[in-house]
Amino acid sequence: MTYEAVIGLEVHVQVKTESKMFSRSATGYGRPPNTLTDPVVLALPGALPVMNLEALDQIIRTGLLLGCTIAPVCRWDRKNYFYPDSPKNYQISQYDQPICLGGAVEIELPGSARNIMGEHKRIPLTRIHLEEDVGKLNHGAADSLVDFNRAGTPLMEIVSEPALHGADEAFAYLTALRTVIVYGGISDCDMEKGQLRCDANISIRPAGTSSLGTKVELKNLNSISFVRDGIAHEIRRQRAVVESGGTVVQETRDYDGQTGASQSLRSKEQAHDYRYFPDPDLMPVKVDEDWKARLRATCPELPFDKQRRFMEAYRLPYTVTSVLIPDLELSNYFEEAARSGARPQAAANWIVNDLQRELGAARISLSESKVRPAHIAALVGLIESGAILGHAAKEVFAEMFANGDAPEAIVDRKGLRTNTDAGELERWCREAIASNPKSEADFKAGKDSALNAFKGPVMRAAKGKADPKAVDATLRRLLGQ
């Protein structure tokens, strides 16, 4: 029997804000333990939460980007449970009335080849809600220490419908979702810093059936590749259980990306009763049409929309767009170069190939690069007009990358401009023809390749700076063609 996997993802994303979700304490990563705290973060007696409006703006922006329905009122609930990383022993969250409902993430499945666009699908979302992050436990040999720097950081939980059917789809979903969130400036989604975390609910069922099997929640999928590997592993595990006559048990399992194995954390019977109730310390916040309109105006174009536009408006090949699009900065960089008048395909090639290669070699980011989009446009312009030649262009680019000079300045300084004096070119061509009567005869007899015999001497005379097209045309004219 063949089985189909049914997967829903719960993705937690830290929202990028200056201060925490309910206090004035700063957010941050990698700071000395317990320095990003205040009475509210530490839940000292008498401390009260006050909502961070910027975080609410960011989740509403996320909802608008993903086509969610934005609730007219933002409400806060308490989720009660005891754990040492939770300062209040309740988490302020949103229970039955999340701020964003519905919506979808457009994903792209792998194509049949690297240069062929894969199938696109829309994965429906259940909800997105906002809550606060918890602290971090550091377990030592004899004791455990807790660091509350992370506690209270705004955290979005994005819950998909159980509409993914394999590890590759889950991978594509997470990649697409991350790109949208980075585009929106909502989070940097750096998984190493815990800015994006993923849990997966996985079940299997006989292919072609529609009822849901018993689900297993897989936790601690700490990188995008662990998400793919962990889900693939869990699907195999469940299939093996079923095929050996067993039944899948509802439980939460912990996946270890290093060993590629998972183990049970807790069963359904040990599930918490969170005793949710509305947080009496926080007032409901009305989100009106003006508020949404103001945020809608700040929403960027979605990544896949941008890719389609690049392919149509700039006639870029799919492979080039699939390098440009996932990187918001790079795609904007390209567009700026194109708007500066460069032929788009040529500019894209310089960016995707030469610039990316040099950035990688120098281990710097695009924003640190001295090469500006206008420089790329100017370089392309010099090539397209014939002012410099291909090998000279490579030299100019290396110089641009090293010191950030404008390409024209480099060309002039290094004397790389092609010779454009028609009179001089004609003289060199006449001399070349005169010194090689055999080839002249061959050419006139119809042997077109004989023309190449004149080109070498002309180029030598021009010290390499003659435009090959101009040389070709001049020779043909002089030979009476």
């Binding site: 839940a43 008498g46 009260l48 009660n80 007032m283």
Partner: protein, 473 residues
């Protein structure tokens, strides 16, 4: 007297310190006090007044603080073993405002543990006595605040009121106590019992003093999301400007069984006073009153079960030395740190929020709460304020009700509805029993109309002078 230079703030403070030394061994109103700190504040006040920079009528006035309001650098215990050694690193907003007004923060006053109780017998550090009869309770939970003001150990005090915790002890100790409209005074720095019901308010010997103190602490605070952006009038000036006559409501449900005849008679006397002053007295009905105590004990315990979860022995507070791991720290520290009444309410609150019971208890109680508020707002279409006894009986004997939590809960029967409806209420002395115990008159006002409430109480006080009588504990 301070302004006239007849008394310095330091002299006043010294007098209170001496008074505390002579009576508090019997009254036991104070959990802790810092004489050096109080005198330093008084000296700073004298210096301000000396250079013509006095900050107003509160400058140099010692105000006692219920030990549930955070004062930077001072202990904050909530009268609980759980916080026995806790020192607050920050000031509550009301403390910041008192300091801005020049007041001297003086001592931390006893209460029922975590403000849960009506007698101050639930304090982990020993019960406070009623200055009028040391065998009797001062009421609660702000029993220390009421007793300290009544016994002359503080000029005024701050308390907190969740179901009557300011008005009931004020009545039982013969002082003025005001519970403001929910949202008028910031709760930032107040140890939460039930967040949707708690309000900080003043205790004082006179209505005028209460008006001055309220004016200093009221007003919007960006650190408390439930604080209201209300215009704060000059409450003191309002006392002489507003003279009525008012339309006053008498709720028949508040004069039912269980009301002590002497208390009933004193309140009837007050009603006659207002009638003679030209006020129109109307009988009104608050039909859902009988459900108030039930709804209150569901909502308050639900919120407290969550609010008190932070006292876990991990970051601060009592940690059991017998604990072996995190879960053990929770169980043992909380078992050792909390008293019986606190545990009872946490368990009750946990139960009413549990899945399967949430709708039947918590949700239903919230609906009842809405109906109770509607009762009051309906009544206010006919009357300006409602007059009731503050408590059904005068101060009861220590130990008399501690074995029966329900009998204790019923002591708040006239005060609880005000918290559920978020309204302001004041208790003002309205006489004494034959045995010499004070009786309190409660006036319940409309939202954010404390000025009117204070004027009504002031008119009564000025005509009777009960406040001139002091106990000798």
């Amino acid at each position: 007297m301070l302004d006239a230079g007849r008394l310095s703030a330091v002299e006043l403070m010294r007098a209170l310190i001496a008074r505390r030394h002579s009576v508090d061994g019997r009254v036991k109103a104070f959990n802790s006090y810092d004489e050096a700190d109080a005198l330093a504040q008084a000296r700073a006040s004298d210096a301000r007044r000396g250079s013509g920079k006095a900050r107003g009528p509160l400058d140099g006035i010692p105000v006692g603080i219920k030990d549930v309001i955070a004062v930077a650098g001072q202990p904050l215990t909530a009268s609980s073993r759980m916080l026995e050694n806790f020192v607050s690193p920050y000031d509550a907003t009301v403390i910041r405002r008192l300091r801005d007004a020049g007041a001297v923060c003086w001592g931390r006053l006893n209460l029922d543990e975590f403000a849960m109780g009506s007698s101050t017998e639930n304090s982990a550090f020993g019960a406070t006595s009623n200055p009028w009869d040391l065998e009797r309770v001062p009421g609660g939970s702000s029993g220390g605040s009421a007793a300290a003001v009544s016994a002359g150990e503080a000029v005024a005090a701050l308390g907190s009121d969740t179901g009557g915790s300011i008005r009931q002890p004020a009545a039982l100790c013969g002082v003025v106590g005001l519970k403001p409209t929910y949202g008028l005074v910031s709760r930032y720095g107040l140890i939460a019992f039930a967040s949707s019901l708690d309000q900080i308010g003043p205790f004082a010997r006179t209505v005028e003093d209460a008006a001055i103190l309220l004016g200093a602490i009221a007003g919007h605070d960006p650190l408390d999301s439930t604080s209201f952006k209300a215009e704060i009038p000059d409450y003191r000036r309002g006392l002489s400007e507003r003279k009525g006559p008012w339309k006053l409501g008498i709720a028949r449900e508040y004069f039912a069984d269980g009301l002590d005849p002497e208390v009933g008679a004193a309140v009837q006397g007050a009603i006659e006073f207002y009638r003679k002053r030209g006020c129109e007295i109307r009988e009104i009905s608050l039909p859902h009153t009988k459900y108030a105590v039930g709804a209150y004990y569901i909502i308050a315990t639900a919120e407290c079960s969550s609010n008190l979860a932070r006292y876990d022995g991990i970051r601060y507070g009592h940690r059991s030395t017998a604990a072996t791991d995190a879960v053990d720290i929770y169980f043992k520290s909380r078992s050792e740190g909390f008293g019986e009444e606190v545990k009872r309410r946490i368990i009750l609150g946990t139960y009413v929020l549990s899945s399967g019971y949430h709708d039947a208890y918590y949700l239903r109680a919230q609906k009842v709460r809405t109906l109770i508020r509607r009762d009051f707002l309906e009544a206010y279409k006919q009357v300006d304020a409602i007059i009731t006894p503050t408590t059904p009986t005068p101060a009861f004997r220590k130990g008399e009700k501690s074995a029966d939590p329900l009998a204790m809960y019923l002591n708040d029967i006239y005060t609880i509805g005000v918290n559920l409806a978020g309204l302001p209420g004041i208790s003002v002395p309205c006489g004494f029993t034959g045995g010499g115990l004070p009786i309190g008159l409660q006036i319940i006002g409309q939202p954010f109309r404390e000025a009117e409430l204070l004027s009504m109480a002031h008119a009564y006080e000025a005509a009777h002078g009960w406040h001139a009588r002091h106990p000798n504990p």
